[in-house]
């Protein structure tokens, strides 16, 4: 028995050792294409975010390839499932970087996997652009980490100023999920809103996946809040809106870019009227966004992209431009070129990167009329007060 075990262990270690030599070698990279990796949840509870982002990235790639590719070479997207977990994201990363030898990564979609992958990207020297990981810590991991989504602190700043200065609320309540995205926004808004002199009379929490929010709404009703801020994922927001109606509450609702998912209008079409949310800015003169939305809808059976998918689309174009300027699949050169991106004009307006890789952009404000979001304008906070950019 002991011998068998010893033998087995030796075999495993020997096999692993043999493979160790092969770890660094480049495999399978076809020199006639540029291979780009995508990491996101393609199965599980939050799969729709991952699927939309990968669809958008794939659409961008198809468009670029149809237009002749990047300096004569075609782009190829390899999408890997992160399962929404750290383990899964690391496995996807390993596969993309070592087996597929990708030149850069789009993703991961959620913050925690993004933090784990960002660490590895920083060590291995490969650029990643996340379309949706909003937590402020993501880009603080180090170089090589970028995002085409505003960090939660940026969005919260604009949101809090807008609620206080433009909408004139002095007392709001928050109902947010305990996850990196919602908590980051809710706490950011609470902090800034209070600094401005407003009151946040309730900070009610829930878990992602909860479907009953009547207790929290009941608690908010007993405060004298003028509006409720709900920076959550689509399904939670839909439930909150409907259950507030069922409880006979008619407070106005404020939300975040999670609300830009058109799915909300299928889930709660009767209750979205009047919701004001902060989302991506739009370049007024450009038709990139509407073109993208039409193309996406045509390519994926009428499904509509959300703002994170739009971010993924922009991320891919930014990456393609960087590859073009770098002129090779060299990871270092591509990283340098992504960093050098200036005034990129994408579906979400004009994008620049700060030194830490955060996106610098103004924020758009939308007001929902019935089931149609109407663009109010884009805003920035300058010297402690909100300024409408256009």
């Amino acid at each position: 028995m002991k011998k068998t075990i010893a033998l087995l262990l030796v075999l495993v270690l020997a096999a692993a050792g043999l493979f160790a030599g092969g770890a660094g070698e480049s495999t399978g990279a076809d020199s006639s294409t540029y291979v780009i990796g995508f990491i996101g949840p393609l199965t599980g509870d939050n799969a729709n975010y991952g699927i939309r982002c990968s669809n958008a990235a794939r659409l961008a790639i198809d468009e670029i390839n149809a237009a002749g590719g990047v300096d004569g070479k075609q782009l190829q997207l390899i999408a890997e499932n992160s399962l929404g977990t750290v383990d899964g994201a690391i496995a996807a990363y390993e596969k993309l970087v070592y087996s597929d030898n990708v030149c850069a990564i789009i993703g991961p979609v959620f913050t925690s996997p993004a933090l784990a992958v960002a660490q590895r990207c920083y060590e291995d020297g490969i650029a990643m652009i996340t379309p949706s990981a909003t937590h402020r810590d993501v880009t603080s991991v180090g170089d090589y980490v970028y995002r085409t989504v505003p960090s939660d602190s940026l969005q919260a700043e604009v949101a809090a100023h807008y609620f206080y200065e433009v909408l004139g609320y002095r007392n709001i309540a928050c109902l947010y999920a305990m996850n990196d995205y919602s908590q980051g926004l809710a706490e950011g808004v609470e902090e800034i809103f209070t600094e401005l002199g407003g009151t946040v009379s309730a900070m009610e929490t829930c878990m992602v996946g909860d479907r009953d929010f009547r207790t929290q709404l009941g608690a908010i009703r007993s405060t004298d809040a003028e509006a409720i801020y709900i920076p959550n994922y689509t399904v939670e927001d839909a439930q909150i809106l409907e259950q507030a109606y069922q409880l006979g509450m008619d407070l106005p609702f404020l939300s975040s870019d999670g609300f830009s998912d058109p799915e909300i209008y299928n889930l709660a079409p009767d209750f979205t009227d009047g919701v004001i949310y902060v989302g991506p800015a739009q370049a007024e003169a450009s038709t990139t966004l509407s073109d993208f939305q039409a193309a996406y809808s045509a390519a994926y059976n009428g499904d509509q992209p959300d703002s994170f998918a739009t971010n993924a689309y922009d991320a891919l174009y930014i990456l393609a431009a960087a590859i073009d300027r770098a002129g090779s699949a060299d990871r270092e050169a591509i990283n340098t070129e992504i960093k050098a991106t200036t005034d990129f004009s994408g579906a979400n307006g004009i994008i620049n990167f700060a030194a830490n890789g955060d996106m610098i952009a103004s924020q758009g404000v939308y007001e929902v009329e019935g089931t149609t979001p109407v663009y109010v304008g884009s805003f920035q906070v300058v010297d402690g007060s909100i300024v409408q950019v256009d």
């Binding site: 009547r214 207790t215 608690a219 399904v235 069922q246 006979g248």
Partner: protein
């Protein structure tokens, strides 16, 4: 400040939430009562039931807005979904659990987990990852009485779960088939010797349990939406409800479900802790109840492990 009305509203919310748990727990408890194994796939059958119901309902309804036809279509959809899930439940039992009936008790548990994976990912594949709304087949304007509001679909859920409980109790206690089920649950091999077709009884149990899951799936999708992984957490909560009430006991499932719903709804404001900790409250209550009554509230106290 929380007022009395507010707490009454919490209580009411808890009862409506709990009646959903109760409805699903009934199916769980049926299967467990006979086979003594945790059917992890029950939650996923619920999901299949919700999708089948939704598809049938939208197909039947078409563009019609006739209120009578809407209700009729809804009940037809429910029957179709129950039939489909009953067949599915029997099929799963046949393929994945029956070969393991004599194996150790954990083998079917694993098999059930495999089935659960297949069903939920299969649904995600076919229907996509988005959630869907189950349109109300009736006017769902909330009814407000003395500051307390409740909606028609919540009343429907409560009524259906009570009716189901009564029907099931009568079925198990008063019919021949029910008697055979009780006998099988007590001792399979002796029942077989007494001339009971145990295979048929087990098949029937799965059919009934799965049909109940279909009803639960449709009714809970008003509140929970329809999506591929909807059964996982709902199923788990329902199972907890069944255990609290005393698993294998039909009235127990009802009591457990209501208790769990009320605890989730009222626990956090009562204790003054964040609502995101409601699962902690629910599970802590489960553990405390089990410690006080190791067989659940209405469970029979079996002297030794079976």
């Amino acid at each position: 400040m929380a007022t009395l009305v507010q707490y009454l509203q919490y209580l009411l919310n808890g009862i409506t939430l709990g009646s959903i748990y109760a409805l699903i727990a009934l199916g769980y408890t049926m299967v467990y009562g006979i086979l003594k194994f945790i059917n992890f796939a029950h939650g996923d059958i619920l999901m299949v039931g919700a999708y089948t119901g939704l598809l049938t309902y939208t197909a039947l309804l078409g563009d019609s807005t006739n209120p009578v036809w809407m209700l009729t279509a809804f009940f037809i959809a429910m029957l179709v979904s129950m039939a489909f899930c009953a067949a599915l439940g029997m099929f799963i039992e046949r393929v994945a659990y029956k070969p393991l009936r004599s194996a150790n008790r954990l083998a079917p548990l694993l098999s059930a987990i495999g089935v659960s994976f297949i069903l939920s990912n299969g649904a995600a594949w076919i229907f996509g990852a988005q959630s869907r709304r189950f349109p109300y087949p009736f006017d769902d304007t909330p009814i407000v009485i003395a500051g307390l509001s409740i909606t028609p679909h919540q009343i429907l859920t409560i009524v259906v779960s009570v009716v189901m409980m009564v029907v099931l109790t009568l079925f198990v206690n008063r019919t021949r088939m029910g008697k055979a089920m009780r006998a099988t649950s007590l001792d399979q091999s002796t029942s077989e010797l007494m001339g009971i077709d145990v295979n048929r009884i087990i098949s029937m149990t799965f059919a009934i349990g799965s049909a109940l899951a279909a009803v639960g799936g449709i009714l809970c999708s008003f509140d929970f939406r329809v999506y591929a992984s909807m059964g996982t957490m709902t199923g788990l909560k329902a199972f907890v409800a069944a255990v609290i009430g005393g698993i294998g006991n039909i009235q127990g499932a009802m009591i457990g479900g209501l208790l769990l719903g009320v605890l989730e709804s009222i626990g956090a404001p009562l204790l003054g802790i964040p609502s995101a900790l409601r699962d902690t409250i629910a599970f802590a209550a489960l553990i405390i109840i089990l410690l006080v009554r190791p067989e659940g509230i209405l469970g029979k106290n079996e002297r030794e492990k079976v």
